[in-house]
């Protein structure tokens, strides 16, 4: 597009999760603009083919498109997700759940984790998880939909999905095509730019066909064909603080009823995921190749499966980091082309969603405006940086010294922004949260306490609380147990609500 003309034709390059989410979002939310949307993808190249765990935000994305949850879950063979269980992170043998919900409740401005810490010291607390309904449901293999009544115990959490992301993309493709998005099969071999403005004019396909447009969304995955190769956005490498750079992934049959949580188990030079879908368990080993060989990493993965693998394990290479600009000229990066943060907290699809939301809000319906580009890049930088800090916390907050990898991450220099947050929590139990942060107060508390970052000082009012307050918390713990007994198992809810019809 020449700066000065109007956006009519949007070209999405790439048809992975990012490409089809973008197509669905733009074609639905911007239906009033009369855009023509084309998506180019190459079956020959294929998609990255992983990405099964999500965050609750995805539900709001789906709702904004008006998608039917039951239909979507059945099609993607999805299960519910109430949180992530982290095993062996602080020390070998440790386990905690990071739930999508609250622990306990604050008392007159005193944060619950201070109260819990005091109860713990006096031997009357029990695990902090026993004050969280989503933690207890996860452990017991149960599930219930959250309530919309604010005073209900069932209103203290949210949920996400564990799904087949390839089928999610197919689902969104059908949706988008119904909205008029046109799909073009073909491999992009060249990109033509305006010699004066540097704006992308058209994509050249292997077949000789050209695809011209006004705005180009780069969803070509790790290749970053447009934003990187063509527009020259630099990759900012964060491997010094997030050294994992490979993954081996393989699915296996499920041998037990499905549960509503993902598991992340720390290994000698990385960690292994276990994501239960309706018809299979997704597994993968994310590791740092500087500390373990591919062969050994593969053995670790296969040695820790609960049943025989469904096929050949797939090796993926990546680097942690972010493009220095995610929007340049008339090219916007969405998905893996914009950067990558490992899937420890299931944030990639969230970051796709955040980019789509930001793009829609500043969409160049007229001409591309430098102010919109600056705002989009500012918002996305903030998102990446805050997720990055939260991920680093998982590695750095450890007592493990059983391998060179853990020695490295335990002692590495971390970003000042995270060092500040950790110091505040360690010394005084204060959680630094921001208006625009993805992970809120309970998430930080879960990881800090779950990984043995225990405050040295508490809110001084805690010691003055009376018996009626302690009684209130004991009653809360009992109420959670009582509510739990009446709930259905996660598998029962799935069978009744959204069975995929696939054999498990």
């Amino acid at each position: 597009m020449e700066s000065g003309s109007t956006t009519r034709r949007v070209i999405i390059a790439g048809g992975g999760t990012a490409g089809w989410m973008t197509a669905a979002g733009l074609s639905h939310q911007l239906r009033g603009l009369g855009l023509e949307i084309l998506l180019v993808e190459s079956e020959q190249i294929g998609t990255v083919g992983v990405g099964e765990a999500t965050l609750p935000h995805m539900r709001f994305f789906n709702q904004s498109l008006g998608l039917d949850e039951r239909e979507l879950m059945a099609f993607t063979r999805a299960t519910f997700k109430l949180g992530i269980e982290f095993c062996d992170w602080g020390r070998i043998g440790d386990a905690y759940i990071h739930p999508f919900g609250d622990y306990g409740e604050d008392h007159e401005g005193i944060a619950f984790h201070h109260i819990w810490q005091h109860m713990q010291a006096t031997g009357q607390a029990g695990r902090i998880d026993s004050y969280s309904l989503p933690c207890m449901m996860s452990e017991a293999g149960k599930f219930a939909f959250p309530s919309s009544r604010p005073d209900d115990l069932l209103a203290t959490y949210s949920y996400a999905y564990q799904l087949d992301a390839g089928r999610y993309a197919q689902f969104l493709r059908r949706f988008s095509e119904r909205n008029g998005v046109r799909r073009i099969e073909g491999r992009i071999v060249d990109v033509a730019q305006d010699p004066e403005t540097g704006f992308i004019r058209e994509l050249k396909l292997e077949s000789g066909e050209t695809v011209a447009g006004d705005l180009f969304i780069d969803c070509t995955g790790f290749r970053a064909l447009l934003i990187g190769e063509t527009m020259g956005a630099r990759f900012m490498d964060w491997s010094d603080v997030l050294p994992c750079d490979r993954a081996i992934a393989v699915a296996c049959q499920s041998t037990a009823p499905s549960v509503a949580y993902t598991r992340a188990t720390a290994r000698k030079a990385g960690w292994q995921w276990r994501i239960p879908l309706q018809h299979r368990i997704g597994n993968g080993h994310v590791y740092a190749s500087a500390f373990v060989s591919d062969e050994e990493a593969g053995d670790i993965l296969l040695g820790n499966l609960e049943s025989a693998p469904n096929g050949e394990p797939k090796l993926l290479r990546f680097k942690a980091g972010q493009r220095d600009r995610q929007w340049i000229g008339n090219c916007v990066a969405v998905g893996l082309s914009s950067g990558f943060l490992e899937p420890l907290e299931s944030t990639s699809i969230y970051l796709i969603q955040a980019a789509i939301t930001a793009l829609i809000e500043v969409f160049p319906a007229g001409t591309v405006d430098a102010r919109d580009i600056a705002e989009f890049n500012r918002v996305m930088d903030l998102e990446y940086e805050r997720v990055r800090d939260f991920l680093i916390l998982h590695y750095h907050a450890t007592e493990r010294d059983d391998s060179a990898f853990w020695d490295y991450v335990r002692t590495m220099k971390i970003p000042d922004s995270l060092a500040y947050k950790m110091e505040l929590f360690r010394e005084r139990g204060i959680v630094v949260t921001y208006k625009d942060g993805l992970f809120l107060h309970p998430s930080w508390v879960a990881v800090y306490l779950g990984q043995r970052v225990v405050p040295e000082r508490c809110d001084p009012r805690v010691v003055e609380l009376g018996d009626e307050v302690w009684g209130k918390y004991a009653a809360l713990k009992d109420e959670i147990q009582t509510r739990m007994t009446g709930l259905q198992s996660h598998q029962e809810v799935i069978d009744a609500y959204c069975p995929s019809g696939e054999e498990a």
Partner: protein, 477 residues
């Protein structure tokens, strides 16, 4: 806890104004077992800057923690309910700035995008006609907001106008009866050991000791006069001494009026019994910089209120800032006064951002006034510049951490002061304009009907008082 000698306290407050007494009372409520003392210092006589104070909606939660009810404020401090400020810009321009909602968002786009579409299509409605709070304020009406979030009557919020001297008296009586100890002699200075306050020297020659100190002594900063300051930028306006108290007739109690003059403006705030007018003029002197302490919390001493900041008087932000200062202090209460560096660092980080964001909001108005007076306006800070740029560009409202003024106030002020967006959100373009117009005209009709049914504020207050008396009396303080 073993009782401390009469000259020893856990926490000691220096000052005699609203900040001092409110801080002392709050600390006593939060930690009733602690020994909390207070003493005036000469510099902080009760002649405070503002004859009246303006409270924002969040103030109600603070009052509840202090154990002071709304009825107490109405009956003992001549207080009124405040829905917002009506700004008269000269040349016929006017707008209302309130904390409640304007219109309602649709399809993920904020209302002002639809407003701009309506305006472009020739619809004759000013922005604030879509605010129930504005309609109530213009007619002097008041009721409490409804609890049901779907009711139109839940779409506004309110603060208070309070008479300063009486409020200070109410706070001090309440604090003393809650167990705060007032010592006799004024404090003359703090005596430091290794960068921390060791004790206080009294004017009668005596000494006092505490674990932690709150400096509420106003601009004199008695405890730490040479604590370095950080300049935010010029404060163009200074407050003149002129305060007119007019008897309240049957006037409008629900709004503040702010009227632009050739080189400043006049503000009019309503108490139940009087209207208080203040005049602000463009200041010429360099002295008038807006500033705050670079580290309001240093060692075992925290400065609050005017001891911590000197911002422009625009929007009377003193109480809103005090509310934020005390909220932060409550969340970061020093566990061991001897070791609270991280608490201090976090307090300073957040409060300094708060001061800066309030200064931004004030700058917005000062630029408008200076421009009209033909004076050069101060440059906006980088965050304000970005906010202005994004709003003017496409109506996108950038809100930062630690804002005091709400998004709806920022939007009303930007639109009211003429910073109209060049483009609107594409999300607002989905619905046809006729449908948008029909939808919002329905809202206007409902606002009209709802306001017509409401009582005048004075009548509402009288009704509240009667109900309280009939139901067994006013909450005891």
């Amino acid at each position: 806890m073993s009782p401390l000698p009469a000259s020893q306290f856990d926490l000691f407050v220096v000052g005699d104004g609203v900040a001092a007494w409110m801080a002392a009372l709050l600390m006593k409520r939060l930690q009733p077992g602690r020994a909390i003392g207070i003493a005036a210092c000469d510099a902080a006589g009760p002649g405070r800057d503002d004859p009246v104070l303006v409270a924002r909606p969040g103030f109600r939660a603070l009052m509840a923690r202090l154990g002071i009810s709304e009825i107490d404020l109405l009956e003992q401090c001549d207080a009124t309910f405040l829905l917002g400020t009506e700004h008269h810009l000269g040349g016929g321009g006017a707008f209302f700035q309130g904390c409640g909602a304007y219109g309602a968002p649709a399809n993920g786009a904020a209302f002002h995008h639809y407003f701009l579409r309506l305006r472009t299509a020739g619809a004759p409605y000013p922005y604030d006609t879509f605010s129930l709070g504005a309609a109530m304020a213009s007619q002097g009406k008041f009721i409490h907001p409804a609890d049901n979030p779907r009711a139109l009557e839940s779409s506004f919020d309110y603060g208070h106008v309070i008479e300063t001297a009486r409020f200070r008296d109410l706070l001090s009586q309440t604090a003393l009866s809650a167990g705060v100890v007032r010592t006799g002699a004024p404090v003359s200075e703090a005596i430091f050991t290794e960068g921390r306050i060791g004790s206080l020297q009294l004017e009668d020659g005596g000494h006092l000791e505490a674990g932690f100190y709150l400096d509420c002594s106003g601009p004199a900063r008695t405890l730490w006069p040479d604590n370095p300051i950080q300049v935010l930028g010029p404060a163009l306006l200074s407050q003149t001494a002129r305060v007119d108290r007019a008897e309240q007739g049957s006037g409008n109690l629900s709004r503040a009026l702010s009227t632009a003059g050739p080189s400043g403006w006049t503000s009019e705030l309503a108490l139940q019994s009087a209207r208080v007018c203040q005049t602000f003029e463009l200041a010429d002197s360099e002295e008038a910089n807006a500033h705050h302490l670079a580290a309001p919390w240093a060692g075992n001493c925290l400065a609050l209120g005017r001891a911590a900041h000197r911002l422009s008087p625009v929007h009377t932000p003193f109480l809103a800032l005090l509310e934020r200062e005390l909220d932060l202090l409550s969340a970061l209460l020093p566990a061991e006064p001897g070791a609270c560096e991280v608490e201090a660092r976090e307090y300073n980080r957040r409060i300094n951002e708060t001061y800066a964001r309030v200064h931004d909001f004030q700058t917005l108005f000062e630029i408008a006034i200076a421009t009209r007076a033909g004076k050069s306006a101060s440059a906006p800070s980088a965050p304000l510049a970005r906010k202005l740029e994004q709003f003017r560009s496409r109506g996108r409202m950038v809100m930062y951490d630690e804002e005091v003024f709400s998004e709806s106030e920022w939007t009303a002020a930007l639109i009211g002061l003429g910073h109209l967006p060049e483009r609107t959100s594409p999300l607002a373009s989905a619905a046809p304009i006729a449908a948008v117009r029909a939808n919002y005209e329905k809202l206007l009709h409902k606002i009209g009907q709802s306001t017509a049914r409401m009582p005048d504020q004075l009548a509402y207050i009288a009704h509240m008082q009667k109900m309280m008396r009939e139901s067994g009396g006013v909450d005891a303080v």
